[in-house]
Amino acid sequence: MIGFQRATRYASPTADTRGWVVLSYLIALMVLAPVAALIAIAAQGSGDLWPHLIAYVLPTAVRETALLLTGVGVLVIAIGTGTAWLAATCRFPGRVIFDWALLLPLAVPTYIVAFVYLDVMHPLGPIQTALRWLLGLDDPRALSLPDVRSLPGCIVLLGFVLYPYVYLAARALFLMQSAPALEVARTLGASRVATFFRVALPLARPAIVIGTTLALLEALNDIGASEFLGVQTLTVSIYSTWVNRSSLSGAAQIALVMLTAVIALTLAERWARRRQRYAGGARRGHPPSPVELTGLAAAGAFFACALPILIGFLVPAAYLAFEASSRIAAAGLSPHLLIEARNSIAFAAAATAAALVLGTVLAYAVRLDRSGMAATAGRMASLGYAIPGTVLAVGLLTPLAAFDNAVDAAFRQLFGFGTGLIVSGSGAALVLAYVIRFLAISAGGIEAGFAKIPVSLDAAARSLGESAAGTVRRVHLPLLSPAFGAAAILVFVDCMKELPATLLLRPFGFETLATHIYAEAARGSYEDGAVAALLIVLTGLGPVVLLARMSRPLTAIGGRSSGGVQVASAVRSR
């Protein structure tokens, strides 16, 4: 899915390579277990469901999903690449702040942005009220702005919170790309704009594709915002087939078809790039010197960078802060919030740790193995990111509980006491779900980090008698810390925001900030969830700022960059 180019430029087959490859296949098996469970559920048959789906549900769902993804794709590429180019290659007022602040929307979950904007844009909300006041209108009906509860509304909102995935990848690449290529273009007479579109953009394509893939999978799997805004996506249809039609097998069938489509699209994109080769980033030219913008250009750049931050972060955060303060004033602080915050953080941290370890195994296996076997395992292990959280959770329930009950039965037989639900009853299930869901992010980021470490270091370590594992521990790990940090932060923030799997798999008597918000929202009182929502955003804020600080290669040593996504500089060759 993401990353995992077969390592062609490097080979060092050793005896323990096989061990790493076997390990990576075990991880892939773990990820595929819920998929297998879904296949089993789907195979139970769904009666006469499909004629109905094909006639009435899928045409709309496919159309709305395609439009949503196209719209979000265009928006995240335009915003992400545009702001990355400005922040990385230009100098204008505010650039130093925009540079990291453009990442802030990552901290805002899609379901929160949806309910915030419904409130903000509502005829009774602050914007329309102010407009009416300005225009001297009394009746709310005298002024009608487009409703957020629509496909365009959903596209805009998702686009403005998901663009940082593209920004992060594109910015790292623009910062790293060798200046000579751009300078050659300029000296050959290309304008600055032409240089961007004809040299920089094609060079950045792999990074943009990866960032966009992450953003689009998030949009595809989103249930909170889409359902709330009344957009009938495939994921909403899967959910509604399961919940409202009580057909779990039908839901599993649609989910599998969707998963197949995602895999096919990913492979197609890979195929389309088959003639391009990507050289590792170990060899870097000097960075391009920033262009000083003045006058209108500077003002334009300022607004182009300020707008996404305003829409994707400042407005939601300010609105939540306002709502939260009035809730606290009216009802005080819920005593559960602290526990819920602790739960959220503890589970996200545990899952992050596990995802890092497993991601390292996957990435290192790819580095060691030249047969492509490990790369295949890596791709399979990244599939979890392409499965909607709610579907993944259902797929996990069955194998986990079967495992628990088998262990319990065995203990009863052997020792005379039962173990109960040791995995699904303890929260281990939730950690597992997070890991499966977000392994793609950590593995991809770590693999990109590995790609920047010259192979000669491995050879030197090994020739001095270090084992493969020892090389990882004593050579790679220290060099990888930026990639680890970035991957850890992305996974952590994503776990904090995750809702559907948390709802279904959380252990008994256990609430997180996300489930708290959901419980309030389910009652139709979103405002009551404002405090918890603000806490999610704030908890995500610290890591995101850290991430921004780490991914600033110009101020760091050598190849310290990455930002969690593969950023190998691209060399186009035929």
């Binding site: 005829p123 009774l124 409202n244 545990a350 740790a353 252990p507 405002e527």
Partner: protein, 343 residues
């Protein structure tokens, strides 16, 4: 690289996470799985614990309650399964994850048409599907569900998603009254009248009426109490004040009602406490609490209704059998897709 994510700290965090949640189930406890929003039932559960000393552990699982209980199998900690509407109750029974209980206290408190004949489930509270109408713009004081399809409401109807259980139940009731073809025509008519997408919650009908987006829309009775009672804050009081809650009826029938209810889980290990909880929830005192805290109609005859709810007038429930509505649920869901109600 900051040391925030050093491996030792991560391991420590993982250990904390693993220990944070002791396994449930000691003697004086009862474990509740509920599709009902916890905020609505929490006060009732607290008063149960106060009067019996039995601790209630509740988990809110909106979707997937059945899948979870089935997967957990004999080891499931669930004792009581509580659902927000009758279709949920019928599903848990159909999926074989409940057990019947015989209790004089329950069968004398809950009318026969509001409980399973075999004792698998019992209704605990009742609510009506009203039609909220704008105080300013709608003059009529009574209304029928049929009327929602009348072209006079073109561009003036707000409603939540058609496949939400509250609406599928209403549509199923329509089918039970008039048959599938007429229900489809009706649904098309309602769709043609919509002022905005069919989405959001019931309270947003009131909010959008205040905003002038629409004039009428179906929504549940207790939300009026929650809005007007001030529990949603001053904003929602304004929404509640903007509407006239009409006890809508079918032309030749009564008001569509739905229930919340509970069943005892098949593999309950605290069956005694489970039954105790159910019996407690239908006592006079708690039924009055349902009415007062949640603004619902009690199931127990003679229990008082909250004044806000009583102000709508006398509830005349549609005589349709709940089983009849349940049988048409699937057809109702099909119709919603077929007319593209949510598109």
């Amino acid at each position: 690289m900051p040391r925030l994510f050093s491996s030792r700290r991560l391991i420590a965090a993982a250990a904390i996470a693993a220990c944070a949640f002791p396994m449930a189930a000691s003697a004086e406890e009862v474990n509740l799985y509920t599709t009902r929003e916890p905020g609505l039932i929490q006060p009732l559960l607290e008063s149960f614990t106060q009067s019996t000393g039995v601790k209630v552990n509740a988990i809110f699982i909106k979707d997937g309650l059945i899948e979870r209980v089935k997967a957990e199998g004999t080891n499931s900690p669930a004792d009581v399964l509580m659902t927000v509407d009758f279709s949920g109750l019928i599903d848990v029974v159909d999926q074989g994850i409940t057990q019947p209980i015989r209790s004089e206290a329950l069968s004398s408190a809950v009318p026969a048409n509001l409980r399973d004949p075999n004792g698998h489930w019992y209704a605990l509270s009742l609510r009506a599907r009203l039609i909220y109408a704008s105080k300013d713009r709608v003059k009529q004081t009574s209304i029928t569900y049929e009327e929602l399809a009348d072209p006079k409401w073109k561009g003036k109807v707000c409603i939540r998603a058609g496949n939400h259980p509250y609406n599928t139940a209403l549509i199923a009731a329509y089918i039970a009254h008039y048959g599938e073809a007429k229900a489809e025509a009706w649904l098309k008519g309602v769709k043609a009248n919509l002022a905005r997408k069919a989405t959001g919650g019931d309270r947003e009908v009131a909010r959008d009426i205040l905003a002038g987006i629409c004039d009428v829309g179906p929504a549940n009775s207790y939300y009026v109490g929650l809005m007007r009672g001030g529990k949603g804050g001053p904003e929602q009081e304004k929404w509640g004040a903007a509407i006239n809650p009409l006890l809508a009826t079918f032309k030749d029938g009564g008001t569509h009602v739905n229930i919340s209810g509970a069943a005892v889980a098949k593999h309950s290990s605290n069956k005694g406490n489970a039954q105790k909880l159910l019996e407690y929830l239908v006592t006079n005192e708690v039924q009055a609490l349902y009415a007062k805290v949640n603004y619902e109609y009690p199931v127990r005859a003679g229990a008082a209704v909250d004044p806000i709810i009583a102000s709508f007038g006398a509830l005349k429930p549609d005589p349709l059998d709940i089983g009849a509505i349940a049988r048409h649920r699937k057809t109702a869901a099909n119709l919603v897709d077929k007319v593209g109600f949510n598109n």
